[in-house]
Symmetry: none
Subunit: 226 residues, 2 copies
Amino acid sequence: MRVAGILLVEDDPSVRTALELALTRQGHSVTSYATGEEALDHIRARRPEIAILDVMLPGIDGVEVCRRIRKLDQLPVILLTARGDDLDVVVGLEAGADDYVVKPVEPRVLDARIRAVLRRAESAASDRITFGDLVIDRGALKVTLAGKEIHLTPTELRLLLELVRHPGQVLNRRYLLRAVWDHTHIADSRLVDACVQRIRAKIEPKPAEPVFIHTVRGFGYRFSPP
Amino acid sequence: MRVAGILLVEDDPSVRTALELALTRQGHSVTSYATGEEALDHIRARRPEIAILDVMLPGIDGVEVCRRIRKLDQLPVILLTARGDDLDVVVGLEAGADDYVVKPVEPRVLDARIRAVLRRAESAASDRITFGDLVIDRGALKVTLAGKEIHLTPTELRLLLELVRHPGQVLNRRYLLRAVWDHTHIADSRLVDACVQRIRAKIEPKPAEPVFIHTVRGFGYRFSPP
DNA sequence: ACGCCGTGTCACAGTTTGGTGACACATACC
DNA sequence: GGTATGTGTCACCAAACTGTGACACGGCGT
């Protein structure tokens, strides 16, 4: 099982050791600190994969630690709070926290949250673009719609990628012909239209009312997210 | 305290500052130099986690810097080059670069590449990689499937390792030819296909429905765990 | 309402692509 | 030398892909 390096910041010693024990049992490797300052001092050296921060801390509070971590690194952050205070949630999310857990928390719940956040962080690092339900992974050359993988042929994929490279821009047929097909194709042809139609049939929920690839009469096509 | 982050070497000041800004925004800490000499001078003191090198540099070029870095350290290297210079790819791979990015590059793409290379470097620390039933031991150069050892020939093993180095990424035939075979081979050849087929026959439970090495028609092959 | 122009839709045939097995040559190992 | 193994190439085939043309459709200006 994959082991995550967790940075835990919690000032209450009993809660800290309990969490540390629980997380270690789940297979994580945990480094914990009682204060934000210590954590920030060591974060560079430790290179954790995720930080779990108590909001109520002596000195710099968890939200502020989160903010500073965000300036340093893309490190995912989960905030822990004692009360279900709504204000905290807002502030925490604004500070860039990835998730928010209310104490007391069951270890298996926390573990699930950690894994979810890590999964999200990892996939965000891959070379992807997301437009609503539509996810285009340029590294894997995969397109998914609402989680379901869509099969696009090479030409369709090249055309879609070209459109997506210029979101919101209208691209005319001549440009698209040049960019997607080889230069041997000149002048006007229905080629682009047909290809757009094929893509729509695959990615548009209702091809007759396209949400992604819009026709701009007399000019060409525009990709714009819904 | 250890200073970790990205070592950037790029002679064009505008590109350099743009990249520096973009990478910093992504949460990286960046140190940049205009020449390879400066970079090499400071690399010991700075202890970066990854180096990003422009290929075209005054004085020592990026490829040579890469070669010298390799002699010093296991430091991962990404080479930057102007669009589509094939010769560079060959030389770069020979010099031991971990990845190769064509300028102009979008920040999010570069960021994804950086993270991929870092992840790879991290997992390279361990000699074994596991994908479901498939275990690849790079130290012993052994492959086992569900505990049973699979015999792969040298070429097959090199190809598999190259695919596995970029899990989830589509690699085209030209790239694979260059990475696995020497550059004497002409671009158009069924060599890669044949070798993939041979690997599949050995590691895929049902070669007709591959689970590990997927064909991406018109583009190449992708290794992705089941 | 009418016709026109730009676009959507569809079927089909020619082309391309990759899987597959056979085979020849090279190399290493007895 | 003889054998086994590894490697590159080829030909064939099935499947996938693509360009094209014909026709339908719908908005727009007259």
